[in-house]
């Protein structure tokens, strides 16, 4: 009885979350049409959508599976580059930008999922900080491999080349026909990208992500994943296939990150592998941790706040990043120190029965 009510409550909360996202979209769109949204906010909409998806998908591995991932930006990178290659190479075949954006995101998600599986197989044997460092290592390797990648297109199709040993130094070394199109120029990345991303697409991606993650968490598989997080040995002893569920969480998380990456990549005219470095992974991790591990709504809010914060601090000029760092430290202390927490609890009474884990 009690349990049934709780689940109902949780499902209701899920619907409220979807409703809030849709409402946010409507409100912002209406405000934008009325001219109340300034350029700076408008420009932030798509990146915020990407970061929300990144934060929620990372929360699947870090919060729900309980494994620290320091290379999540690597999946974003795979998604961004495969998505951009897809959308640019189909530019002539498919004129509709919306369709191409959808294809880019699907391709990005698919590639990232494959890479996620490939990485997950060896990596998930490890635990804790060892796993964390291996994800970091994979993130760095992905960055350098994509840095070495050349992709061009001519009438014969796509041409690929890897500049691992200084064998390729420009797109001409791919030996393509005259008038071929360069898509990825090695370390210079994509330079002639078309801006396809829209706020609407971002919102749809957020809704899909929420749908997938929330349903996964509520499903049998989700409970198995959380059981592994809480006690792997106990989970194994009741017959849960640990590797399978770990891989599942990892691949789903990677696929969502890939789709977000494709959206992110489609938002800028230039995309470069070094954008998706260790610092980017850490930034996404910050969203997840600050929002509360395993707390999906928290991740969304943290992603929004932490993306807007550095922009909002622009008036401080030189002190901007310093203040950002101090705010970060203070927030972490305020939310995690028991003494400060009780102090805050006295001022702001916490709602009873709000569960920490979603």
């Amino acid at each position: 009885m009690k349990k049934g009510k709780k689940i109902n409550g949780a499902v209701l909360k899920d619907y409220l979350t979807y409703a809030a996202v849709v409402l946010a979209f409507i409100v912002i769109t209406v405000l934008d049409q009325q001219g109340f949204i300034n350029n700076s906010t408008r420009g932030l909409l798509v990146p915020i959508c990407c970061y929300i998806v990144m934060a929620v998908s990372l929360n699947l591995t870090v919060g729900i599976l309980g494994e620290l991932n320091l290379g999540h930006a690597g999946f974003m990178s795979v998604g961004a580059f495969s998505g951009v290659v897809a959308s640019l190479s189909l530019a002539d075949a498919i004129p509709s930008p919306v369709l191409r954006l959808v294809i880019a995101m699907v391709v990005g998600a698919a590639f990232a999922a494959v890479v996620g599986l490939l990485i997950g197989l060896p990596v998930l044997r490890l635990k804790g900080d060892y796993l964390a460092i291996v994800t970091l290592a994979f993130g760095e390797i992905l960055k350098e491999v994509i840095n070495a990648l050349y992709v061009g297109q001519d009438s014969a199709g796509l041409h690929f080349g890897f500049n691992f040993r200084n064998n390729i130094s420009s797109i001409n070394d791919l030996h393509m026909e005259e008038g071929a199109k360069a898509i990825i120029k090695g370390a210079q990345g994509v330079t002639g990208n078309e801006k396809l991303a829209t706020f609407g697409a971002g919102i749809v991606l957020i809704l899909i992500t929420l749908f997938i993650v929330m349903n996964l968490v509520r499903s049998r598989s989700g409970r198995a994943i959380m059981a592994i997080r809480d006690n792997r040995i106990a989970a194994e002893s009741v017959g849960i296939n640990v590797t399978k569920y770990k891989l599942m969480a990892f691949a789903v998380s990677a696929a969502l990150a890939g789709a977000a990456g494709a959206l992110y990549g489609s938002n800028y005219a230039s995309v470069k592998a070094s954008t998706f470095d260790f610092n980017q992974s850490i930034l996404i991790l910050m969203f997840g941790v600050l929002g509360g591990l395993g707390n999906i709504r928290g991740s969304i809010i943290a992603a929004i706040v932490l993306t807007i914060l550095p922009e909002a601090l622009r008036s401080f000029e030189d002190l901007r990043m310093l203040i950002y760092a101090i705010v970060l430290i203070l927030v972490m202390i305020a939310t995690n120190n028991p003494r400060v927490k009780t102090l805050l609890g006295c001022i702001i009474p916490r709602k009873k029965g709000s569960s920490a884990n979603e």
Binding site: N38, N39, S40, R42, G43, L44, P47, E140, E144, N147, N163, N166, S169, S170, G186, A187, Q188, G189, T191, G192, K195, Y264, Y268, A269, S270, V271, K272, A273, S274, T275, P310, E311, R314, E317, D318, R320, M321
Partner: protein, 420 residues
């Protein structure tokens, strides 16, 4: 930094005072303004004419409707924190000097607002949007290439006039009629370097060390390699590095030495170049080192031993040791404000502001025009104007946005640039 800003305000006030004093004194030549148009403006201001509304613009005689007036808002974008902070800071500092000088002259007025982009594409577009909210009419930036490509695409869609002091890749201006450069394009530098080496018979066996995760470095290397092959120069060794491995070059230098190269071409910025020179010195390897404009600034790195750079050659449009009045004025002003010697980035930015002024005057823009109107007007006049600045005399632009100015080969002797 804060102190610098207060200092800047004080200094600009001082300058305004000197100018006024010059007026009453009746002297004709006051400051050392950077453009012909500016000279005329200053002269006229000195003669007491009405706030330089008559300032003649187009030097090429296009000045039919050449009255520019009012206050223009210039936005600046560049990295002021992070790895590339040195370049963005130099650009913003120098641009501020130029803006203060122009404002002190009377005539058209500039408001300058620098924004930080950390050298990152996303932040750069954010900065661009923030500046649009501020009411930017002209964009000075972006300083680094990758953000510049994305920002120039935005600027093209918005019809915002964009003049980048230092983003040198062709992709920045490619297909965008409203984006212009103050610096050389990468291909231009690569082929000019190869030609210079071949013409002066500096070497036939060449080693190249370049950064292959950087558009600037790769761009120069590619055209250099092509041109070198045409000219019969042999590249005997090619070494690469990335941002993450820019701290140790012992392997590349050992290989370059083993390959018997007489000249090492370094199409890179001066920060890694300084490490290369230091480590080559430790190894006892002494080829000719040949750099490009990114190498400028090597002598300004704090505590850099100039003896290490002895004999280094570079192609650069700017030399802080140049004897001409314009450069000397700029360098001493920069030094007195910021306590550092300006590098080529700063020089390009200083020129960029004067170029904007010249273009605005040539097009007869007024401060109340919208960004789109200014953009269309400037796109029309840019190929017609010619500006003298600290990075070159008689700079002219093609319609594609490339600058045409003469690169100057210099050699470092006893810690100063000398023309060979």
């Amino acid at each position: 930094m804060k102190k610098n800003r207060i200092l800047a305000v004080l200094l600009s006030m001082c300058m305004a005072m000197t100018l006024l004093a010059a007026c009453s004194g009746g002297s004709d030549e006051t400051q050392a303004p950077a453009t012909d148009a500016a000279t005329e403006a200053a002269t006229e201001a000195a003669e007491g004419t009405e706030a330089a509304t008559e300032a003649a613009g187009g030097d090429e005689g296009t000045g039919t409707a050449s009255t520019a007036s009012g206050t223009f808002k210039i936005g600046g974008i560049g990295p002021m924190t992070g790895d590339a902070a040195i370049y963005g800071t130099a650009v913003m500092n120098a641009a501020q000097i130029a803006v203060d000088e122009i404002n002190a002259m009377g005539g058209i007025q500039f408001e300058f607002q620098p924004e930080d982009d950390e050298g990152d594409v996303e932040r750069s577009v954010n900065a661009y949007n923030t500046l649009k909210d501020w009411g930017m009419q002209l964009l000075l930036g972006t300083v680094t290439t990758d953000p510049a490509i994305s920002v120039s695409a935005e600027a093209y869609n918005d019809r915002m006039f964009m003049l980048t002091p230092s983003a040198s890749s062709l992709d920045v201006i490619d297909g965008k009629d409203n984006v212009f450069q103050v610096c050389f394009t990468d291909p231009n530098q690569g082929s000019a370097s190869a030609q210079y080496i071949a013409e002066n018979n500096l070497a036939t066996q060449i080693a190249v060390i370049y950064r292959n995760d950087d558009a600037y470095s790769t761009g120069i290397y590619n055209t250099f390699a092509e041109e070198a092959a045409n000219l019969g120069l042999e590249i005997v060794y090619t070494g690469t590095f990335t941002a993450d491995t820019a701290t140790d070059f012992s392997v590349q230098l050992t290989d370059a030495q083993a390959s018997g190269a007489e000249l090492v071409f370094l199409p890179i910025y001066y920060t890694p170049a300084a490490v290369i020179l230091t480590q080559a010195n430790t190894m006892g390897y002494e080829p000719i080192f040949f750099g490009v404009d990114g190498m400028d600034g090597i002598l300004t790195a704090e505590n850099f031993d100039p003896a290490l750079a002895e004999g280094v050659m570079l192609l650069t449009p700017f030399s802080a040791d140049a004897e001409d009045e314009l450069t000397q004025h700029f360098v001493s002003e920069y030094q007195s404000r910021y306590g550092e010697t300006p590098n080529q980035f700063a020089a390009d930015a200083y020129d960029a502001v004067y170029i904007l002024k010249a273009a605005l005057e040539a097009a007869g823009c007024t401060g109340d025009m919208s960004a789109e109107e200014i953009c269309e007007a400037l796109v029309a006049v840019m190929p017609t104007i010619s500006v003298d600045g600290v990075t070159g005399e008689g700079m002219v632009w093609s319609e594609t946005g490339e600058v045409n100015k003469a690169p100057m080969a210099v050699i470092i002797e006893n810690g100063v640039y000398v023309t060979p």
